[in-house]
């Protein structure tokens, strides 16, 4: 004889059934299942590493990001994914005797590369040294704006040196930063997890971190971007100078080269013997910063007068 409590429907069975029923109602009812598998956040999460993407995947990423930027900033962005030119290795020359420390390069870079205004991020730092010393400990990069060049000082602007043997690339745990064939060390912002090991390892303090959501006034945005370069970043990723990859891969000079009013900056392809930078390296006594660290940087400094 069946006892009263010996029921077919146990508590366990009831809860199981109720759970399945409510879940299927929720998913099937509003079609969330469909959206989940096609949503942007899903694509973003399961995106491959940029170097392993096929051209179709790159195209998909582009359209997705362009849509996102349109929604967020209200402007049409051009997201380039140009690869490097063949037989090109970029190098940069900086004439310290000409630099007057006016910081126009700093602000041209900020304007070109969509860096955050609040909190303020500047990729180029201009160090001011007293004449007679090249001791970094005694340099100052917070010097006040005055009529430059000031007596008794000289100026050395610094940005990412695009090292051939870069420590940042070595320490990145996710390989979010790597060196492209044309020598530029790039960061894939969708792959960066924000651990900041690279900032700790960089001897030149070239990298900056987005501690907060970057704030840029919409009218100051530059819509001509590159995926690995100046596209708007999000909170929690590292960024740095990319030699204006969106410009140089189309043949133009970086923004800092064009902004310098005294012509202290030289840029070009070091593999072309007729380019300006090759001539500078042949004719000037160039040096690189912190050469004892063997980072093999691409940034050559010289005094021309």
């Amino acid at each position: 004889m069946k006892k009263e409590y010996e029921n077919d429907m146990t508590r366990r069975k009831f809860l199981k059934g109720a759970g399945i029923a409510s879940a299927s109602l929720a998913l099937g009812g509003c079609g969330v299942g469909e959206e989940l598998f096609q949503s942007d956040s899903f694509d973003e999460f399961f995106q491959s590493h940029f170097t392993e993407m096929s051209p179709e995947e790159i195209k998909k990423v582009r359209t997705r990001l362009q849509k996102q930027y349109k929604k967020k900033y209200g402007r049409e962005f051009v997201l380039g994914t140009e690869p490097a030119y063949p037989n090109v290795l970029f190098a940069y020359g900086l004439d310290i005797s000409r630099c007057i420390g006016c910081r126009r390069c700093v602000y041209a870079c900020v304007q070109e590369n969509n860096t955050s205004r609040r909190p303020q991020i500047q990729w180029i730092r201009v160090l001011r040294f007293k004449k007679g010393t090249l001791n970094f400990e005694e340099s100052d990069h917070y010097y006040e704006a005055g009529m430059n060049p000031q007596e008794g000082y000289y100026y050395v602007p610094m940005q990412c040196q695009q090292c051939e043997n870069s420590p940042c690339e070595k320490v990145c745990p996710t390989k979010a930063t790597w060196k492209e064939p044309d020598g530029i060390v790039v960061i894939d912002y969708n792959w960066c997890v924000g651990c900041r090991y690279c900032i700790a390892s960089c001897p030149y303090w070239a990298r900056r971190f987005n501690y907060a959501e970057p704030e840029i006034p919409t009218e100051e945005l530059n819509p001509n971007t590159h995926y690995l370069g100046n596209r708007p970043r999000m909170r929690g990723v590292v960024e740095k100078c990319t030699f204006c990859i969106q410009r140089v891969r189309k043949g133009r000079y970086p923004a800092c080269v064009e902004a310098c009013p005294v012509g202290a900056r030289k840029f070009g392809n070091i593999l072309d013997p007729e380019s300006e930078i090759s001539l500078v390296l042949k004719n000037q006594r160039v040096f690189r910063l912190k050469e004892d660290l063997n980072t093999q940087t691409k940034f050559y400094y010289f005094f021309s007068i």
Binding site: R118, M147, R252, Y253, G263
Partner: protein, 202 residues
């Protein structure tokens, strides 16, 4: 019919040969003076407003010498004086041009006396303002060499293609070429512990 005695009959031929040589020499010299190499388009040289063309005032008169024209001084309305080549500070005109370019400079060292729309070189060549780099290059030879290679001065354009070349006078004022000081832009904000930048700093 002319009758020539002995070797006088050769004189016309000698004269013709001499003239031919002179003309040929001129033509060849002109060819050598042309600049070899590529031609780069350059924006027009900066000119002082209201002062160019110089020959509006420094006009050649009938005697072939340029002189400033003072209207209303004589019955004919023209009073022509020969140009004064002595180095001095100008008092009547061009007082706003501050000449501070090496200690011994004087206007007519570079500006052509007879045709004021042009400049002159040390070897006597007359060049237009569009070729003023030849004049500057006479003294600043190393800079001129660097400029021709593209490693002097500001570069705008394409690193693998067309670049914008500027003349010396686009950046350097030829009368007082030392750069004036530029106002530097604001320093980066000093980091504040614990919060984003406040509005009222700087």
């Amino acid at each position: 019919m002319l009758k020539f005695r002995t070797r006088e009959k050769y004189i016309p031929f000698l004269l013709i040969a001499l003239i031919f040589l002179l003309v040929a020499g001129e033509v060849l010299a002109e060819q050598e003076e042309q600049e070899g190499g590529e031609v780069y388009p350059v924006p027009p040289p900066l000119v002082y407003q209201g002062l160019f063309p110089c020959q509006a005032c420094h006009r050649k008169d009938i005697r072939g010498v340029s002189s400033p024209v003072d209207k209303g001084q004589s019955f004919l309305g023209k009073y022509l004086r020969a140009p004064d080549p002595r180095p001095r500070i100008l008092v009547r005109m061009h007082r706003n041009i501050n000449l501070k370019h090496a200690d011994w400079q004087w206007c007519l060292n570079c500006h052509n006396t007879d045709e004021r729309n042009y400049l002159k070189l040390i070897n006597g060549d007359i060049i237009p303002f569009e070729k003023s780099h030849l004049l500057c290059g006479q003294c600043h030879g190393l800079i001129y060499r660097d400029w021709k290679l593209g490693i002097h001065g500001r570069r705008v354009g394409q690193w693998n293609g067309k670049k914008l070349y500027l003349l010396c006078s686009h950046c350097h004022d030829p009368h007082s070429p030392k750069f004036r000081k530029l106002m530097a832009m604001d320093p980066p904000r000093s980091p504040e512990y614990g919060r984003w930048e406040s509005e009222d700093k700087h």
